[in-house]
């Protein structure tokens, strides 16, 4: 059997008892569960080890020490950082060391070499693609961790109080505004996503906007409806496909690059929507990942599952 958590939700009431000096918590409270009295009887056997006052005094003392140490640390830290900043090259200086052959090449030859007019998109998806690959996996890691923590495993369900929530869809103003707003937001997101190599934006910005749109949708029309539109399977499938596509596309590019093989994907004419080689599909993949990551964050926080 799996270990039950050592301290139950009932713990807080028991803790209050301990505060008043009635019980001692030096023994593990193994799921007093539905019979708090019986558990208390078991706890009663042990003598209290410390009184509440003595203990809280001790804690207060140690936190005071901690605060003094932390204040000193902060002061030293701030002074050092300000001194360092004072010794950096000037802000807005055109002759700063950061303006070197690297950034010049990104700008001057970036359009030719990557096919992207937006230098930032070209840089993060072509020159420094390994970073960006890692970055999308940061999102993936985070979504898995949130799933681990927020999924309610076998314990009591948490949607007990759903009825008490405000139903936004009944409110005329909210419903009307959102009916107008959500398509516009989604459209804007798609535009940013697809135009990432030509104008400001790209996978991360577009995905975040799309994700925000989906969140508004599921907020107003309810999680039930949203999860009917995007069932958990679909979300998983999309995330899986986009990340796998991203990995494979980039590994093709890395492999050909490192082995000096020809790269067979055409770059197209810079400035057109179908240009930039792999950049646009990659932007779309990243956008899907970001969008569904944000959406799953929301769903996990809202109701504990996708």
């Amino acid at each position: 059997m799996r270990d039950k958590p050592m301290i139950d939700p009932e713990f807080s009431s028991i803790w209050t008892l301990w505060k008043n000096g009635q019980i001692d918590l030096t023994t593990p409270l193994r799921s007093p569960g539905h019979q708090p009295l019986q558990a208390l009887k078991e706890v009663e056997k042990y003598r209290p080890r410390h009184s509440w006052e003595a203990y809280s005094q001790y804690v207060r003392k140690s936190t005071l020490l901690y605060k003094i140490a932390a204040t000193i640390l902060c002061c030293i830290f701030i002074t050092l950082m300000l001194l360092t900043v004072a010794n950096l090259p000037r802000y807005g200086d055109p002759n700063a060391p950061t303006i070197n052959e690297v950034s010049e090449r990104y700008i001057e030859e970036g359009t030719e070499e990557t096919g992207a007019v937006n230098t930032v998109a070209g840089m993060i998806l072509d020159y420094r693609a390994f970073d960006t690959l890692g970055e999308s996996f940061v999102l993936f890691t985070a979504v898995c961790s949130v799933a681990v923590l927020m999924n309610l495993s076998g314990k009591r369900q948490h949607i007990k109080h759903t009825k008490e929530l405000i139903n936004y869809a009944d409110d005329m103003i909210v419903r009307g505004v959102c009916r107008l707003l959500v398509p516009v937001i989604l459209l804007f997101g798609i535009y940013i996503l697809l135009n990432g190599h030509l104008s400001p934006g790209g996978g991360f910005s577009g995905g975040a906007v799309l994700g925000a749109g989906l969140i508004i949708y599921s907020m107003v029309w309810g999680e039930e409806k949203a999860s009917r539109v995007f069932p958990a399977k679909l979300v998983r499938l999309v995330v899986f496909c986009s990340l796998a596509f991203y990995c494979l596309a980039k590994s093709y590019s890395f492999y050909t690059g490192a082995n000096h093989l020809p790269f067979l994907i055409p770059e197209g004419a810079p400035g057109h929507i179908l240009s930039g080689g792999l950049i646009m599909p990659l932007n779309v993949a990243v956008g899907f990942v970001v969008c569904f990551t944000m959406y799953s964050f929301y769903m996990f926080f809202r109701r504990g599952r996708l």
Partner: protein, 130 residues
């Protein structure tokens, strides 16, 4: 002295960034509420990003999007910091989502967000089963 504080006033953007970082750091260290700690964490991160982005800014130059056929590097700002900050923002939102979910879980178990109380509960129930 002159040399020590050389560019302090010119680098006002960076100074603000450092101050923001320190404020976030202080919130993280001193705040007892877990949610406020997460807010402090976010402020700390944005401070770092402001520092990074302001290193890429060059006075009077433009967004690094090649338009109108101008391809001289003197017309555009440095694109590298912007790309790095983009990475950083995504990392920061992932981390804060993770921290918030930890917060919810802790609240569900201990019914408090106060770090001192958590610490006390933890040290009081010492020597428990594994």
């Amino acid at each position: 002295m002159e040399q020590l504080f050389g560019n302090l006033l010119y680098n006002y953007e960076e100074v603000v960034a450092v101050i923001l970082f320190s404020i976030g750091f202080c919130i993280l260290l001193f705040s007892r509420n877990l949610i406020k700690k997460v807010v402090g964490l976010d402020i700390m991160d944005t401070g770092v990003f402001l520092l990074l982005a302001s290193r890429g800014y060059i006075a009077g130059r433009h967004v690094p999007i090649i338009v109108d056929g101008i391809t001289t590097a003197e017309y555009y700002i440095n694109p590298i910091p912007a790309g790095l900050v983009l990475t950083g923002i995504v990392v920061s939102v992932s981390v804060s989502a993770l921290m918030l979910s930890l917060t919810v879980r802790i609240y569900r178990t201990y019914h408090t967000l106060d770090v001192d109380s958590l610490y006390m509960m933890m040290s009081v129930s010492k020597g428990g089963k594994q």
